[in-house]
Symmetry: C2
Subunit: 373 residues, 2 copies
């Protein structure tokens, strides 16, 4: 093969202050560029075992069943639904944002009988509301979003898991935006099935989706009579590949596993408590500066996701124009709102390497400079 | 965030002479380590457009519909089946290897009425055989594998597409192992739907699956009444993201796209004809040396996949032991057989950077040294 003279990509430098992907540490890029081994190489399974161990820590669980899906967070969502809700079973979904809408949509596609508890986007659900809904519906499973990326709202998991246990429903929790940046504590909350991604709180490139299942839910999986409708996401088959016999399933994206391995090592090195505290401090500084500039946070204090802040677009400002200026003048990416919140909010992440008070200050100054001409 | 002292991964050096993943060029690793941008960043869509253009060349098609699925080759297979075979429709599958078995299995899971034409593993299908089968079955779609990774057998696409057109069936072709190493020529053969991967003939890390659809099959997709059962792989939704409006679907694995972009640039630089010729020369040298050593090729000349060679395990040799010695003593990965071919064949790739006559010699020498104690 001739020596190449073809020039490589030259991506623009961006500061990723959006809801994800978040900024990636240089060490993670370095790990991702290491030589791959085969998907059945013993070294690969050593990497997998390290990842599984470290994921247990960030998820706050002792679940033996913790694996990584070869797709992004949405693939994790579809894995949870397609493995744990069979056609005709009743799936209850707590809907107050874009990603809980997506769960309901996937449930429909997999033939579930979907029942919804709807609240306006930007609100969360009290235990009493969930209990009344589940008592009435008696679903097989209830799904909810821990940290709703579209609104910036945090949901207390126990407000769902307690009433769910009372009616014997399994719980499916979307941890896409929460994992690695705020405490999750699956075991303490009694969550049955949880999924996440790599490109937000863990600050790795997108491409993988960690999924974990409680021992009780593993029994339900094993007792399942029909095959999972999606071969690629069939957790029983994936278990035979990643665990025990290492029976070939698909060719795992080795480089993305290297990146996740390194990202988790950085989390370990800092320590979870220190990492969470750093995110809290950065968020506090962000909110202080936003409010000092007479801007308004969309979500009331107490319901906010620490590292995913939503700010109301002020009267007279053009949301899209401001974001375009941020990219053009500062190389800063933030996001706007979806659906009913389109044009009304900015969605701003302070995650991973960017979650510092200095960066909060830099970002607010840049945002304000781009809000008005 | 504190400066890290955590040490990075140190993967063993491997020469990837298996059926995939294949050896990755340093330039591709370098591209993959570049800073990511957001999944809605205009720069990302420039990268996507370059990839789409270059994929058309290697697929041999002018199809406007050519996109990349955020999963490995198996995700591409499931995308093709779930979008183009609705529940109850008849899917004909030509089965003579592990991956055609997988197509049939996925077809079952998606509710297709699956009819099979079975031949022993290691054989391919003549036009007369396919015509007789399709005339009898009159299926909605017929699926087959171009280069069957489990056996080393190449299937002539026209032997399927001609009889399929005669009965009005759409054709689904698995190009997982063929893309980038041998000619495909989708348009000349009249293939409707094709999918592949990045980690074989294109010599990029695993993680993405290119999929292309003929204009006629796009009309079928648009006319589809039910939603694709898999939200993550719904080509209509993916089209809205990658084409035109760039409506958010999922967070694309940016780094994997960078790698594919660079891998395709290397293919372009070498030129397709030169690349194919290099693979042919390497394979000829490999076969010459194998036969000179009194080893036997599993597939008859004329039906072989140029770059994926299957060699019969000689009497008295231990297939697994030989492969373990190759890894331990030479850092060389090759693969064994699946199912009925377990223990009976070696599967040996000469792809991408490793497809040279020198490497063929190196490999055969190492293999022979590890066959006998």
């Amino acid at each position: 093969m001739p020596v190449s003279t073809v020039s490589s990509l030259n991506p623009p430098r961006r500061l990723l202050f959006g809801p994800g992907p978040s900024q990636v540490a240089p060490q993670v890029y370095e790990a991702m560029g290491k030589s791959i081994v085969g998907h059945l190489d013993p070294f690969f399974f050593e990497v997998v075992e390290d990842i599984r161990r470290d994921l247990r820590t960030v998820f706050g669980t002792k679940n033996p069943f913790i694996h990584v899906i070869s797709g992004t967070g949405s693939a994790g969502m579809e894995t949870a639904l397609s493995n744990f809700v069979e056609p005709g079973q009743k799936l209850a979904v707590l809907v107050s944002g874009y990603f809980s809408e997506r769960i309901a949509e996937m449930g429909h596609r997999h033939g579930a009988s979907v029942v919804r508890l709807d609240k306006p986007w930007g609100q969360n659900f009290s235990e009493a509301e969930v209990a009344a809904f589940l008592d009435k519906e008696k679903p097989h499973a209830v799904a909810f979003v821990h940290a709703e990326t579209s609104t910036g709202v945090l949901q207390d998991p126990s407000a769902v898991t307690r009433p769910a246990k009372a009616v014997g429903a399994i719980t499916i929790m979307d941890c896409v935006t929460s994992l690695g940046a705020i405490p999750i504590n699956l075991d303490a909350h009694g969550v049955d099935v949880a999924f996440s991604c790599t490109q937000k709180g863990l600050s790795c490139p997108p491409g993988l989706s960690p999924v974990t299942v409680s021992p009780a839910a593993v029994e339900i999986l094993r007792a399942r009579k029909t095959a999972c409708p999606i071969w690629y996401m069939d957790l029983k088959l994936l278990l035979e590949y990643y665990d025990g016999a290492h029976r070939y399933h698909h060719t795992a994206p080795i480089s993305a596993f290297y990146a996740l391995h390194q990202g988790l090592a950085l989390v370990n090195e800092e320590g979870l408590e220190a990492r969470f505290a750093r995110h809290v401090k950065a968020a506090a500084e962000f909110v202080r500066r936003i409010e000092a500039a007479n801007l308004k946070m969309f979500v009331p204090a107490g319901s906010r996701i620490t590292h995913l802040n939503t700010v109301c677009v002020p009267e007279g400002a053009d949301e899209l124009k401001a974001r375009k200026r941020l990219i053009a003048e500062h190389g800063i990416e933030i996001a706007g709102g979806f659906g009913p919140l389109a044009g009304k909010i900015f969605r701003i992440g302070l995650m991973g390497p960017l979650a510092t008070e200095d960066n909060a200050a830099l970002l607010v100054d840049a945002l304000i400079s781009c809000l008005h001409n």
